[in-house]
């Protein structure tokens, strides 16, 4: 079982890299100057600052849907803390900062499934104006399973953490160790792996697109009002 899981980990990681590589090639080969795409562009400290604020606080979403913003921002924030907390299992020695944020990461583990549930309810109950794709359902379901198994492990059935750390670091250094004897951990790890090739690319491109939107919007007034 352990060997299969390790091989799956490498395979899915390769798939993720392949998907990323395809994207980079696509961007590289994209048309350089396109018909009808001239934009009045500006580059200023204000644009950079407003982009940073928008990326950190999802301000555009805040303007359109405050409830979804609350759930979505809480979800992303708690996911960020959970990721940071999980680096504990990848590093030796563990940096001071990671030790320091452990309590916040643990609290975030409780918040994450709640925020996911709220997002799911908003999507389902949205009626005429709501839109959910099967891909979004898959992401929500996978994240819910990962977060709930993580939460149950943390609260009730804690696996052997030393074995978990040896297993994870073993994969990273291509010297896999034995799979910890915990069904919950196996499920948790398997779903995290399954999610890897399906990581939504907006995580990488949305900040760039937001930056471009800010440049475009700041330049909008200059299209017809240039000196």
């Amino acid at each position: 079982m352990g060997t299969i899981l390790v091989l799956t980990a490498y395979l899915l990681y390769l798939l993720f890299c392949f998907r990323f590589l395809i994207r980079v090639l696509l961007w590289y080969k994209a048309v350089k100057q396109q018909a009808a795409i001239r934009e009045a562009h500006v580059w200023s400290c204000r644009t950079v600052a407003s982009t940073a604020i928008e990326v950190l606080f999802f301000t555009r979403l805040f303007h359109t849907n405050k409830l979804l913003w609350t759930a979505s921002w809480t979800f992303h924030l708690s996911l960020g803390f959970i990721f940071l907390r999980h680096t504990w299992y990848f590093m030796n020695p563990v940096p001071e900062l990671i030790i320091f944020i452990q309590p916040v990461g643990i609290a975030a583990g409780y918040v994450l499934p709640l925020s996911l549930l709220i997002i799911l309810i908003i999507r389902i109950a949205g009626g005429r104006d709501s839109y959910v794709s099967s891909y979004n359902y898959f992401l929500l379901a996978a994240l819910l399973i990962i977060s709930l198994t993580g939460l149950v492990m943390r609260t009730y059935y804690q696996p052997d953490l030393i074995a978990v750390k040896d297993f994870i670091t073993g994969i990273l250094i291509f010297h896999p160790d034995a799979l910890p004897g915990s069904v919950l951990f196996t499920l948790h790890f398997l779903f995290a792996l399954l999610l890897l090739p399906f990581v939504p690319f907006h995580l990488f491109t949305a900040p760039i697109v937001i930056f471009e939107a800010n440049r475009r919007e700041e330049g909008l007034g200059m299209i017809l009002h240039e000196k």
């Binding site: 795409i37 891909y135 979004n136 919007e217």
Partner: protein, 398 residues
């Protein structure tokens, strides 16, 4: 181009990133006018992006390696969805990541055109009509100005200021362009115009339907013709023409234009400020101004029409709930007002209904396509309101 050829070849790197950046949150559905009147999620903005992503996947990456064919039903569904859109850009305006959909949708339409599946309906003959008559309506060039041009306004042979009437104004919204010319005449600065056979389509209807082949040629013809008349400032009232002239002509022309582009409301605002134009009569009415999508969202022109209207003595200016950059499409956008007539009429009626509910005496428009379609939407509708173009109104009061 065959269907198996990779999808996404016409997109820039920014647009490819925009496709990925769409989180499929569906927030744009609340602002999409087509959704408001049809409620069909299969033609919604995130669904269009999802379908195009699927088409890209099927012709690139692993699916291409394994020799999967393009799903023809998916391609047809995508074609229908991308053409039923009014390309008003409200989805991009409300987008939590700021997609630039006023430019993304036409390029996705171009992908469909390259495969011979688009455009749809009357849009298909546009390039031939523009080639034959200079306009997408196939009306004779001899009728471009003569039915509406006021006799008492003089047009200079050469001047630093030129006026471009535009095809939709000249053939479908004549009170609007007549108002433009009357106001220009009243301001008194000499202006020139191209002869009717030389004032050809600006390219916007071709661009918006994804038919990009003639755009460079049309731009060069028009720019060279205005340069030959010594023009330094080109004035136009059609938001779509102004949009493509200001945003895209420099690209087609191959550099900065030898003259500036101005919307007529900017010129009139300046004339009012400089006292070159005065209102001789007031208007004791409540008027409501509708922002055209390609003027407000498109080129950021929001304050000038309001400045003009507020300068009319005794007038009371009302606002739609969605106004300025957030304005709702009147239904005439995307060159689909004749193809998707029922949608366009339903959207036009939403505009009329809100204007009537706000107890406006007049609905003031500033776009020839809006003017034509909202007037059409009024026919047989239970709510009635007087529709007037902004320059038509100004010309009656000076």
């Amino acid at each position: 181009m065959k269907n198996k050829d990779p999808f996404g070849k016409e997109l820039s790197i920014k647009q490819l990133m925009e496709l990925d950046a769409c989180t499929q949150c569906g927030e744009c559905l609340k602002f999409c006018p087509v959704q408001e009147v049809t409620g069909r999620k299969e033609i919604s903005p995130p669904e269009k992006i999802r379908m195009f992503r699927e088409l890209m996947k099927s012709t690139r990456g692993l699916k291409k390696l394994f020799g999967r064919d393009v799903d023809t039903k998916l391609l047809q569904d995508f074609t229908n969805a991308v053409y039923e859109c009014t390309v008003c850009g409200a989805c991009g305006q409300s987008c939590p990541v700021g997609l630039f959909n006023q430019r993304l949708w036409p390029v996705l339409r171009n992908e469909v055109v390259k495969r011979g599946l688009g455009p749809v309906g009357a849009q298909r003959d546009m390039p031939q009509k523009v080639r034959d008559t200079g306009n997408p309506y196939n009306d004779p060039a001899s009728q471009r100005f003569s039915p509406w041009f006021p006799e008492n306004v003089k047009v200079a042979e050469r001047a630093e200021i030129a006026y471009y009437a535009g095809c939709t104004g000249a053939y479908c919204a004549q009170p609007m362009v007549r108002g433009d010319v009357l106001v220009l005449g009243a301001i008194g600065e000499p202006f020139t115009m191209l002869p009717p056979e030389e004032e050809v389509c600006c390219g916007f209807p071709l661009f918006i339907t994804g038919q990009f082949d003639m755009l460079k040629d049309l731009t060069k013809r028009l720019v060279d013709a205005y340069v030959a008349k010594g023009v330094k400032r080109l004035i136009c009232s059609c938001p779509c023409c102004v949009n493509i002239m200001a945003r895209d002509w420099p690209l087609f022309y191959g550099g900065a234009l030898p003259f500036t582009i101005r919307h007529i409301s900017q010129f009139v605002q300046d004339a009012l400020k400089q006292k070159k134009l005065r209102f001789k009569k007031g208007l004791k009415e409540r008027v409501i101004y509708h922002d055209p999508c390609y003027l407000s969202r498109g080129v950021g022109l929001i304050a000038e029409p309001r400045f003009i209207l507020k300068n009319i003595p005794e007038i009371e200016l009302l606002e739609f709930d969605q106004h300025g950059a957030e304005s709702r499409c009147c239904g005439a956008g995307g060159a689909g007002r004749k193809v998707y007539h029922e949608n366009a009429i339903a959207m036009g009626r939403l505009t009329i209904n809100e204007a009537v509910e706000k107890k406006a005496d007049k609905l003031v428009l500033s776009c020839p396509a809006c003017y034509e379609k909202v007037n059409e939407a009024m026919v047989g509708h239970d709510k009635q309101i007087k529709i007037v173009d902004i320059m038509e109104l100004v010309s009656e009061l000076i």
